[in-house]
């Protein structure tokens, strides 16, 4: 396709009033490109102008200088054309109103020593847009050679069964693997469960048996009991899965990466590559490397991880203040087992348990609930209190809590049980459980009734939690170079959870969707809802991979990282740093990208010291050209040239926040030039070096919060960027530049009101440092 360019400048929304449009057109025409203006480009008439140019002049690359690219996306989308949106509305005119940034008067214009900062800003942005569009390459979507749409569900409890039924109902073939010899999970064995539908005020029969029947009757669902996953190799849409019996040892058991302590010698120095390879082979004796595919493996398109939980078993010396170790002090799980057998009797002497105390928090000043409880154990205690009352009309059930948490409409269950005269609840700190005359006494402090109370109990039940299957077992056993499980799971107490608040089922591994109690402590109702979410996500996955588009969060993105392998030095940074484990490597260390695992954040592009990784429309070159297109005025141009500051802005939160500033007509320095990036992780330090070496005075990165409560949409991007920014200091001092010229700031989308101060403070700090000495060279 031959490229034919056109630049279109909208003068509506106050743009034409604030800017000298003719001057901008002159710049465009200097580049020998046609410049077209219209007072209302997003109108039908405006769009017709563009469409006519497509048909009559054959223009296929458009630079549209108007509003932010975050609005009117579909209006300016033309089949087969490349469109670069230059944001001169929110980014220039609206955020730099003329009452604060006055235009030059006719008289002032006479004197060449005067300049108009806002006009300069708009002109630079148009230059940057023209520079970038030139670099956009054609792109052929990546589609795996063989595709499978089958969905693998790991775990046959309520979550797994519900997910399988949902996926099957949509027409997909599902295989459930269950490590036990029967599906159903824990709840199939219970007496009752908490309600899942209105009016939410009565206990119901467990849903599991009904689900078992439905799953067994569904022709699209295949059940494999006594089966676990040995390894999942490949990529979404094309996973090769090896299944095995629990306890079996097979050659396709997944190999583990070397633990960090085995990667170094006695002095703490990283071992040579060859030695590491040998050690790795030794460490994984009898297991095939991740790159060797199991020829008998089964194909799947996506995986739903519903491996569930196991009851928390307190250690022998744990909870001694709660009398743990006494036969009549049991966990809620043990109580459930007793209740399933019939009327609840005491384990010690078999006498009826009429006075039962349910303890929800470890006591002795602990504010939280027991470990791994999520918010579910309050509801469990309510349910079990009801068992006591059902079994014994003269029974008393006491619930001692620090937090009474009933989720959603389960509040009605709480309300209903409150009405029961034999159910007593109070907040309180349990200090001691002690045997007394064949019974137990429970001492509680700081209750709603009084400072110190004592209760008599036949039985004490501890509201212990649900330990996720991923606590000590990767479960998914991914044949990924980064390891078989999810990274950084300690952040989430080893639940298969993430900080993807808006996308709860997405894990750090594309194509693997977690649901139910493996994700956090959930009720059956929530788990089933989770199952639907994960089923839909897995369908989204298989229906995206087959069209060569990214699954999420850049859904529909056709581009992918392209490696120029001739120049690769096998440094493995991309393999290590990819937040999604998308890149494996071979024995030599050459990266092997698995593009369907990729989320297109560009972290690899930012990581690569050789700059051999780029996307068709987002590359080292395209952003670099934009940086270079910024006109940096020097003393040759003006007596007191304005500073030029580059801002690389994360497009997920920071860039929308800047648009909000524009909408609110709130201003920031007009000397900054902002470039949106996919993620701060994709920022390659070469752009910063380029900016500084062409005389720009400072560079800042504006992106998401990192650390334990990271908000980065790509998990690691902003964190990696901050590491790289720290390292860039050395490079700057070798150029005799101050480290303070480069900075990184964290903002969330709702921090927009803080951005003007952040930017202005940085600009003034840089101004204090003085102009970049390279200016003008």
């Amino acid at each position: 396709m031959s490229k034919k360019y056109g630049v279109y400048i909208c003068t509506g929304c106050g743009i034409g009033d604030a800017l000298d449009i003719e001057a901008i057109c002159d710049i465009v025409e200097e580049e020998a490109l046609p410049c077209t203006t219209h007072e209302f480009f997003c109108s039908e008439a405006g769009v017709d102008v563009i469409k006519t140019d497509i048909e009559e002049k054959g223009i296929n690359h458009f630079v549209i200088a108007a509003c932010s690219r975050r609005v009117n996306h579909n209006t300016f989308k033309f089949e087969g054309c490349v469109v670069e949106r230059v944001n001169i509305r929110e980014g220039v005119v609206w955020s730099h109103p003329r009452d604060q940034f006055p235009a030059l008067t006719a008289e002032e214009k006479e004197d060449e020593a005067n300049f108009d900062r806002v006009q300069m800003m708009a002109e630079d942005y148009v230059r940057m847009g023209m520079a970038r569009i030139e670099k956009v390459k054609e792109n052929t979507p990546y589609i795996p050679e063989t595709l499978s749409k089958r969905i693998l569900v790991i775990g046959g409890g309520v979550t797994g069964m519900a997910a399988a039924l949902d996926a099957a109902a949509t027409g997909y073939e599902v295989v459930i693997v269950e490590k036990e010899d029967a599906i159903g999970g824990h709840s199939a064995k219970w007496r009752n469960q908490s309600p899942v539908s209105p009016p939410y005020d009565k206990l119901i029969q467990p849903k599991a048996p009904g689900l078992i029947r439905q799953v067994e009757a569904n022709p699209k669902i295949e059940i494999r009991t006594s089966t676990i996953v040995a390894r999942i190799a490949g990529e979404p849409g094309n996973f090769t899965v090896t299944l095995k019996k629990p306890g079996e040892k097979i050659e396709f058991d997944v190999p583990y990466p070397l633990p960090p302590e085995m990667r170094v010698d006695e002095t703490g120095k990283e071992l040579d590559h060859e030695v590491l390879i040998e050690k790795y082979k030794e460490y994984n004796e009898g297991r095939r490397d991740i790159l060797s595919l199991d020829p008998t493996g089964e194909s799947f398109g996506a995986v739903i991880l519903a491996a569930g939980w196991r009851p928390y078993e307190p250690a022998a010396d744990e909870f001694s203040n709660l009398g743990w170790g006494n036969a009549d002090v049991i966990t809620n799980y043990q109580f459930e087992e007793l209740a399933a057998k019939g009327k609840v009797n005491r384990p010690s002497d078999g006498k009826p348990a009429k006075n039962v105390v349910f303890i929800q928090s470890p006591g002795n000043g602990t504010d939280g609930d027991f470990p791994f409880t999520g918010a579910i154990t309050s509801t469990v205690a309510l349910k079990q209190a009801k068992y006591v009352r059902d079994d014994y009309p003269d029974g008393n059930a006491y619930i001692l809590y620090q937090h009474m948490r009933t989720l959603g409409l389960s509040e009605y269950l709480y309300k209903e049980l409150q009405q029961d005269p034999g159910v007593f609840m109070t907040k309180g700190n349990v200090t001691a459980v002690a045997p007394k005359g064949g019974n137990l006494t429970v001492d509680v402090q700081n209750t709603l009734i009084g400072k110190e109370i004592q209760l008599k109990a036949d039985l004490v039940v501890l509201g212990t939690g649900m330990v996720p299957a991923t606590y000590d077992d990767p479960t998914v056993n991914l044949a990924y170079r980064q390891g078989p499980g999810f990274r950084d799971n300690e952040l989430f107490d080893r639940y298969a959870d993430s900080n993807f608040i808006c996308f709860p089922y997405e894990t750090q591994r594309t194509g693997i969707y977690a649901a139910g109690a493996v994700r956090r402590g959930l009720s059956i109702e929530e788990s089933m809802e989770d199952a639907t979410g994960a089923a839909l996500k897995s369908i989204q996955c298989v229906e995206s991979v087959n069209r060569g588009v990214a699954v999420h969060p850049r859904s529909g993105d056709l581009t992918f990282p392209d490696f120029f392998f001739q120049r690769c030095t096998q440094c493995k940074r991309c393999t290590d740093e990819c937040p999604f484990g998308a890149i494996d490597d071979d024995e030599k260390g050459t990266p092997k990208p698995n593009l369907a695992r990729c989320r297109r954040c560009g972290t690899c592009m930012g990581a690569c010291p050789e700059r051999i990784i780029s996307f068709a429309d987002y590359s080292i070159d395209s952003i670099g050209s934009q940086v270079k297109a910024v006109k940096v005025p020097s003393e040759d141009d003006y007596d007191e040239p304005p500073f030029r500051i580059l801002g690389l802005v994360c497009e997920n939160d920071a860039y929308p926040a800047l648009d909000i500033l524009g909408l609110q007509r709130r201003s920031y320095s007009a000397d900054v030039r902002l470039i949106p990036v996919r993620c701060l992780g994709s920022v390659n330090v070469i752009w910063i070096k380029d900016a500084l070496s062409q005389g720009m005075d400072g560079v800042f990165l504006l992106g998401c919060k990192h650390g334990d409560d990271y908000q980065c949409h790509f998990v690691k991007g902003s964190e990696l960027a901050s590491i790289r920014m720290k390292k860039i200091g050395d490079a700057l001092s070798s150029l005799a530049l101050e480290e303070e010229r480069v900075a990184q700031f964290e903002v969330a989308i709702d921090d927009y009101d803080k951005i003007p101060d952040i930017i202005n403070k940085f600009v003034s700090d840089v101004e204090d440092l003085g102009p970049n000495p390279f200016k003008g060279f």
Partner: protein
């Protein structure tokens, strides 16, 4: 205070409170909006939040001997602001009913007075007593109950000729003693219990109850009670303060009138009926009218009040108040109008109401007159409201 409080829920108590108008008590989720909303609760351990949980846990001993249920004036602000519809005000009222029942002896009378089913029997009980005593005396030739009464020398109707003042006093003096004795017994236990409770709760600065300072506290609270100082701080049921004051002052005035004429009769030997221009008679008439108006207003306010539960104990007391006033005034009007039979009949009924007032005072809601006064005095004595540095 550091002693552990052993909790033993009394399920029967919970059932009783629910039946006495505290049906909603278990809806409470202890947010304490009530204690914040209450215009008259003390800052130190305010009510009714703690009473709500104690009630839902069936902690009878803690509640019946609580001063706080009596410090509550049933403003209703807590109930109207309760986010859960737990109506703390109604629960507190039910608790008071239960406390009266708890301290009154004999218990069987207390149970009967608060039992709707016993009303027909209790209603005619005074008539039975009057007739039994009156007719019994006739056997001995004493005609204090005269079914064919004569007019006075001036040709006026005299109720005393039908129902002799001797008979009235023969019945009502022992009844008064009975009421006072029962109260005395109840208060002895009550004061000891609330003190013990206050010590446990840390709402008192005093170790022991000393008679003299305690009496001084009573002296201090009575003017406030008469002024309805607390009652008029109420939000929701503020409009009840004035009619309540009318009823209270009417009772006080009528007690004074009764005492005055008692002296008039036995001291000076002057028999009724007394002149309508007699200042004491004028006071009696004003009080009678105020009693009716106040009683009817309270009845109307309770009847029209949405969201508040009024139970038998409330209607019984209002019935007595209105009945006393109406029959008292009607007896006088019919007497002046010369309707002989009618006026004797109404007078007889009036005396039946008076019988109820005296006989069941320690058992009915009217006992709040005594318990609340004592509780408020105790609160004053305990110096709970005094801000500590």
């Amino acid at each position: 205070m550091a002693e552990k409080f052993l909790i033993q829920p009394d399920l029967e108590f919970i059932k009783d409170i629910r039946a006495l108008g505290g049906e909603s008590l278990k809806k409470c989720f202890q947010c304490a909006t009530c204690s914040v909303a209450c215009p008259i609760a003390p800052d130190n351990k305010p009510f009714p939040r703690k009473e709500m949980i104690a009630a839902s846990w069936g902690l009878k001993d803690k509640l019946v001997s609580s001063t706080d249920i009596w410090l509550c004036h049933n403003c209703g602000d807590c109930s109207s602001q309760c986010p859960r519809g737990a109506s703390p005000g109604d629960v507190m009222a039910a608790l008071r009913g239960k406390a009266i029942e708890h301290y009154a002896v004999p218990q069987s009378v207390a149970k009967a007075v608060n039992d709707t089913k016993m009303l027909p029997f209790l209603a005619i009980l005074p008539a039975i007593v009057f007739l039994a005593v009156g007719l019994g005396l006739k056997v001995f030739g004493i005609h204090w109950l005269n079914f064919s009464p004569e007019l006075t020398a001036e040709g006026q109707i005299a109720h005393g000729n039908f129902f002799a003042h001797w008979l009235v006093d023969l019945i009502f003096i022992p009844l008064s003693i009975w009421a006072v004795a029962i109260f005395a017994l109840a208060l002895k236990r009550f004061i000891a219990d609330i003190h013990k409770n206050a010590l446990a709760d840390g709402t008192t600065t005093k170790e022991k109850i000393e008679i003299k300072p305690f009496l001084m506290s009573i002296g201090r609270v009575i003017p406030n009670i008469l002024k309805h100082k607390k009652f008029s701080q109420c939000g929701e049921n503020n409009n009840r303060a004035t009619p309540h004051m009318m009823v209270l002052f009417s009772f006080i005035a009528l007690a004074f009138v009764t005492g005055f004429f008692f002296i008039y009769l036995y001291g000076l030997g002057i028999h009724g009926p007394y002149s309508q221009l007699n200042p004491v008679k004028i006071l009696a008439n004003i009080a009678g009218i105020a009693l009716i108006i106040g009683g009817v207003m309270l009845f109307k306010q309770r009847y029209e009040k949405v969201g508040e539960i009024s139970t038998y104990k409330d209607w019984y007391l209002l019935g007595i108040v209105i009945g006393l006033g109406v029959t008292g005034m009607l007896a006088q009007f019919t007497r002046l109008a010369g309707f002989e039979f009618l006026t004797y009949l109404i007078y007889f009924i009036h005396l039946m109401f008076v019988f109820h007032l005296f006989a069941f005072l320690p058992f009915s809601k009217l006992a709040h007159l005594v318990y609340r006064t004592v509780a408020m005095a105790y609160n004053d004595y305990s110096e709970r409201d005094v801000k500590k540095i």
